[in-house]
Symmetry: C2
Subunit: 507 residues, 2 copies
Amino acid sequence: MDSRIEKRLGVKELASKIVSAAEAAALIENGTVVGMSGFTRAGDAKVVPEALAERAKNEPLKIDVYTGASLGPEVDNHLATVGAIRKRGPFIADAGIRNLINTGDVTYVDAHLSHNAELVRQGIIGPIKHLIIEAVAITEDGLIVPTNSVGNSPIFAQYAENIIIELNISHPESLIGIHDIYIPGEQGSREPIPMTDVQQRIGEIGIRVPLEKIQAIVISEEPDAPSLIVPADEETQTMANILLDFFRAEIKAGRLTNSLMPLQSGVGSVANAVLEGFTNSEFEDLVVASEVLQDAVFNLIDAGKVKFAAATSITLTEELQKKVYGNLEKYADKIVLRSQEISNHPELIRRLGLISINTALELDIYGNVNSTHVSGTKMMNGIGGSGDFARNARLGIFVTKSYAKGGAVSSIVPMVSHVDHTEHDVDVIVTEQGIADLRGLAPKERAKLIIENCVHPDFKDQIRDYFNRAIEATGGHQTPHILEEALSWHVNLAKNKTMKQEVPAQA
Amino acid sequence: MDSRIEKRLGVKELASKIVSAAEAAALIENGTVVGMSGFTRAGDAKVVPEALAERAKNEPLKIDVYTGASLGPEVDNHLATVGAIRKRGPFIADAGIRNLINTGDVTYVDAHLSHNAELVRQGIIGPIKHLIIEAVAITEDGLIVPTNSVGNSPIFAQYAENIIIELNISHPESLIGIHDIYIPGEQGSREPIPMTDVQQRIGEIGIRVPLEKIQAIVISEEPDAPSLIVPADEETQTMANILLDFFRAEIKAGRLTNSLMPLQSGVGSVANAVLEGFTNSEFEDLVVASEVLQDAVFNLIDAGKVKFAAATSITLTEELQKKVYGNLEKYADKIVLRSQEISNHPELIRRLGLISINTALELDIYGNVNSTHVSGTKMMNGIGGSGDFARNARLGIFVTKSYAKGGAVSSIVPMVSHVDHTEHDVDVIVTEQGIADLRGLAPKERAKLIIENCVHPDFKDQIRDYFNRAIEATGGHQTPHILEEALSWHVNLAKNKTMKQEVPAQA
């Protein structure tokens, strides 16, 4: 046996389970529910799904696929576009599967990322016939050590009938020891999660499974698909600066200290750019408690700004992959990867007092946020963990540029076309125009702030006009709206390719 | 001193603080933030607010009032209608203040009931100048023992500059010992809440405050305004039966046992009637972990069905008040009252695995629920704790009759006019027509179930027609809608007093 494989395979008897990707793919039973490792294109099994996609070209195959979050092209593009996915949850980001979801060819269950584990426990998701999990090693005492994401793999492993391991020897061995796997017991008889500090370790370094469940092991050297985030631009830098000033004001008000509270930052370019904003700031000893560690977090560790970072996945651009995975020892005592049930757990988010920063797709004058549906009907990616965090965080912040589509679309509308975060869960809104601190405010108070501080100048008159007429039309109701017009900006966009409308001159 | 007062006043020096209600009301500073005890018309201070309302008739007075939840007429009607309330949170139910909210005369901040405590800690609500709290006694070691609700009083007491106690000697002394007061520490340095069983006591029997904060004590014998719930009717009984059958199926599926999981049931007649449904059922050893204990819970304790009940308030009809408060000893080891921060805490709701049953005002074909706004603009009562529970519960159930206004209104519409609970947080819907179990389903799957099982026959063709045309119009998007029409049922209601519309015959 290849020595590189030998040292990753702590339980020697398992060598007999090594098969090719095609042989492993042949074990997947048609019509079953399959759990897969992987979270935002990190730590996903790759060669077995690719072989499965090949198999599906030649025989009827339809499976339900549940993962941590979005996967790379092998599943969310290749397997999906050959028509082998019936149902998919809980998050996607690939255009391949997105299109199939919006033609009704794939049934997509968009869910809070922390909720899946309980649904698996209750058998609502399941029975899980197979788990395909990427691992960096199997330890001598039989722990499966995931690669650069944990996701839902621990709960899938607990409930799956069969486990197929994709042992990826291209991942550095130094990943071993970075994970902290803790699985809560049954509801009603479980203990408090024994964590009072993000840096605390509460579990094991891998996933413990009965070895007889391991059906096959496939050796892989396939690298992760790299993160596709783009660098900060002037507007995201402005948003970062606005946010830093807000934190400074919070410190002055005695609500935060110079090391803030544990920071959660959503996935994507905007959230990454906002986090980058801390690099040259005066903030220190920052702690990150997030879903995904993107480029910014490692740059902030290097800059001495972030002292510890926990998440369920590491998703990096090609450049950062080289830097981080080539020097993982350097970061080993500063990062930890946990299951998404723990990273996104309401108990911990509330106890630790997280500051949560997520991206809005659109929001309305009263502070409702749409994170998922373009014009209310078309799925973009999914809610992800934004709801887990925003609902229970100490501070729920949403960021978005005030406009989209070159200025034809206002990100702030009279009424969002889909609600993922209600007015009750949105504390602060930041656009490149400014900030609206909504805490403790009633709807009409919020509307004034959002309109005056956050809306793009091109849409300000139009949205003010709507708000004023809505107050008049309702006689001052709690949440003034003109229902005939509330969604007219979206209708106008579909008809005229722009949300812009003439505002009649006031008498 | 009256011997009835003497035995309630454990700290004898406090006798010097006894003043009249008018004298206490005179201490309230104009323009300040005032915390008050009280939760769903239970345990609210009464004589001091009444005196305050009198004072406001003769001099300018405007205060911000934060409470546990809705109060009786002294505050939410008398004090409000004399114009003395500027801002109000987090829940109301009286028509007096409701009208003022919907004319813009009172600014109302509708919030999750578990969230206030954190906002007080952060100073977003505050500075709290006064707390007016109804108490049944002050113990010898200086604990303020609340009456039949706890609400936000512990956190208000911790942060208020001055405390005015309304010592209500009409409440039975046997209330002493029923409370369990536990106040979490600061976020980031707090411990796990040490509760793994609803029956466990984790705190003290009263609220500990520095005695020098006690500014005045007013003696009262004023009873609570009774609960206004109405008895079950045929349709609520049908809903209860549907729900019991659902639980039976869950037991069969191995997901629940015969004692279910701790039950939370919302405030109001429908939720009470649904809970009454357990009386002649086979379920046993039930535990209630709710916000409010209404009549049904005590009837179920009497019937030997409920073995323990925890909440933050006891709100009873006049008949039940006599029965329960006359025999409180009988219930003393079976009930506990906690702060709303604890009764509604995400950490405990998730850990204990609550089954949450709340009333929807309207809901839509995709499972979004409106709990607060009539036709999207007019505040009804507020979200209360429904969001605290539904989001983190093991099972989030919403109940509503399928129609309202004598059949002119369908409770199920194409798109709700306001979202309080998103599609991600609603597990099961029950109307008198049937049940829709939405767990693990995608939007279009949910729509079919909701339409076929829950919609009133008078609206079925109309809503099917909308759904089918929406699928066609979008080409099968994740969440089909026709935005021009999505809110047309509400528009039609405003114009024609009915949501009913002709459905064109299908070709």
